[in-house]
Amino acid sequence: MKRLMIGNEAIARGAFEAGATVATAYPGTPSTEIVASFAEFPGVYAEWAPNEKVAMEVGAGASIGGARTLVAMKHVGVNVAADPLYTFSYTGVNGGLVLISADDPGMHSSQNEQDNRGYGIFAKLPVIEPSDSQEALDYCRLAFDVSEQFDTPVMFRITTRLAHSQTLVETGQLERRELPLYKKNAPKYVMLPGFAKSRHIEVEKSILQLKEYAEQTPLNRIEWGDRELGIITSGICYQYVKEVIPDVSILKLGLVNPLPEQLIRSFAAGVKRLVVVEELEPVIENFVKTLGIRVEGKELFTLLGEYSPELIEEKLLGVDNSDPFGLSTQVPGRPPVMCAGCPHRGVFYTLKKMKLAVMGDIGCYTLGAIAPLEGLDSCICMGASIGTALGMEKARGADFADKVVAVIGDSTFVHSGITALIDVVYNQGTSTVLILDNDTTAMTGHQDHPATGLTIRREPTARLDLEALVKAIGIQHVKVVDPLNLEQLQGTLQTELERREPSVIICKRPCVLIPHEPSTQKYYIDQEICNGCSVCIRLGCTGLVYLDSPVKAERKAVINDNSCANCGLCAQVCKFDAIKAVEG
């Protein structure tokens, strides 16, 4: 019987059915559920790697070792993994390897919206793109065959809308597969220049073979309809086009690199007007133009964000979809917010209060940038906080460094903060680094990592000791504080900022959403004492409500018992002791 699956779950199922036995990933929206789902299958190995580069390398090793291997990451993760990826493209595979690149047009949960089909072109990889969960399963299965047939890693490109949409899926049988013999093959796997030169020849040969494959693969198909308009599309955009213009002629591409020249020529010849519908970069459009074929694409459709059925309707059918009510723009925005009881909140409150320049990083704590905390000066990519803080210091001097901190989460620090901290020590920086250690990878949905001491299946393993690690790097001053104790936090910050030596403050408290013994100490706001000064409101906590009034004396803050997590931060910031612990 068919059942609903999100695209990510279907990909994991496809890999499992193809006989993949190794899967590795670093969590990242919208890719996280892929390897998380794969880990639930019996008889397979799955892991959270410390970062995407390591995941790609573990994947390469598993493939050389003969296993069919699944590697998954978000689009920007592929940047981290690009170094092994470009050269693994030369060595090729033993067991098939499929790399999932989960792109995020519209930046639902990302810092950019790069189009990773570009990697296919530059790293010379076949790129496969499904358009619903059934295709995610079927194409992923097929991708392992393509990988082995053409001796290359395959990039499997999805977007957020596919990753997180549920559609009906019919599962298949598990393919039984013997692990092939391992034979040493240095000319194939040792990329010395001499060997790599020979391998590059093989890569170019296999690209030519893939171009032939592209002409006849079932991944690409023409659906003839009305010949007045022909659409070339792939991925989720196919569904939007079918939704809006069901009877249009479509060339649907499932293999988006290399592209099928003859198929495109014959499709173009069969329609009066040719349009490419693709989110982000004009990858298909540019290729069609190089063939000398007249085609429309980005002069109609934007380079920005996610597409939608109404956008297709507007651009191709001229339908006006402007808001008939005008209400949507009149209501207050609702940006994401740190949870009530979040251990990060007090940190950003304190950093703002101390007027520090804060070099930020990627995680829930990036939300510290939003009003009222407004506590970040920069956020670029995973692990960037420490290097950018050092760079600020080198640009503006050690006096300025007394006012600069880096903030980085535990998972992000392990991902790519460690080497930057080595740079701080090595090049005599004086940075103060705050590791916001909430004992999980929170933003992506609470995945474990080396410093939680648990594997992807939540089995106990060696626990990376962050305190010992930073000491071993050469940081002399390492302090561990409770980020819910604002006095301790601010005092420690003052001492460490003034010090003309590098220091690390580990703000240690588990994410409030991790199952734990909740604090039962409730608080209330004494309405007699509260004068409506709104200092507590500046914590940006959803556990507090401000009762505004034109009459000054009537302005009060109250605690919302439905969301308050009893963290007690507001009681610490109240200057009038109006917020009190409930006794008994």
Partner: protein, 198 residues
């Protein structure tokens, strides 16, 4: 065109209110009824207290997992201003169901903008087919404020005539054992809530 048979349910709210559970149960029931079904969800950053939406589409054949603007048969809002934010997705004759719950977003909390107190009246003026229910209060009466999503599932079940037994079965499959009793109670209360306000 078979597209006309597709039912579009847009479920909106605030991250943490449990919209995903409601949309998943609705989708499971639609599958059991033999429909083609697609669901679009939001994971990741927006889930942290931000504005969230899940979209459920079912019918003979469904292509897009997201609902086109102006195409939602039902807009089920777990919070008042979220109904307003997504109102342009409603069909001209579509139905709005609003939980009478106010959750202040950060810009309101920090005093930068005011919460529009008259928002329900403004929605009603634009979309006459609007129903307001007190799902949060009902959930509290059932024993857990968090069951408001299942109260709203009950309201939705009655509003679009879903088979009650199938929905109940789906709740039993989805909700953890220790929370089942409260949730079944909340579901019943939701069904009754609908008939009491219509």
């Amino acid at each position: 065109m078979d597209k006309q048979k597709v039912t579009n349910v847009l479920i909106v709210g605030v991250g943490g209110q449990g919209t995903l559970l409601t949309s998943r149960i609705l989708a499971d029931v639609a599958v059991q009824m033999g429909f083609d079904v697609k669901v679009s969800e939001i994971h990741g950053m927006a889930q942290r207290g931000g504005s969230v939406v899940s979209e459920v589409r079912y019918g003979e054949k469904v292509y897009s997992p997201i609902i086109k603007k102006g195409d939602a048969d039902i807009l089920l809002a777990f919070e008042k201003i979220e109904a307003a934010r997504w109102l342009d997705y409603l069909k001209p004759d579509g139905r709005v169901i609003i939980n009478n719950e106010r959750i202040d977003p950060l810009p309101v909390m920090s005093g930068k903008v005011k919460y529009p107190d008259d928002i329900v009246e403004r929605i009603k003026a634009l979309a006459p087919n609007t129903l307001v229910v007190d799902a949060t209060k009902t959930a509290i009466a059932c024993g857990n404020v968090k069951a408001a999503n299942v109260v709203l599932l009950g309201v939705l079940t009655a509003a679009i005539h879903l088979p009650v037994n199938e929905v109940e079965q789906a709740i039993k499959h989805t909700v953890p054992a220790k929370a089942l009793e409260v949730n079944l109670k909340a579901f019943q209360a939701g069904l009754e809530l609908y008939s009491s306000v219509v």
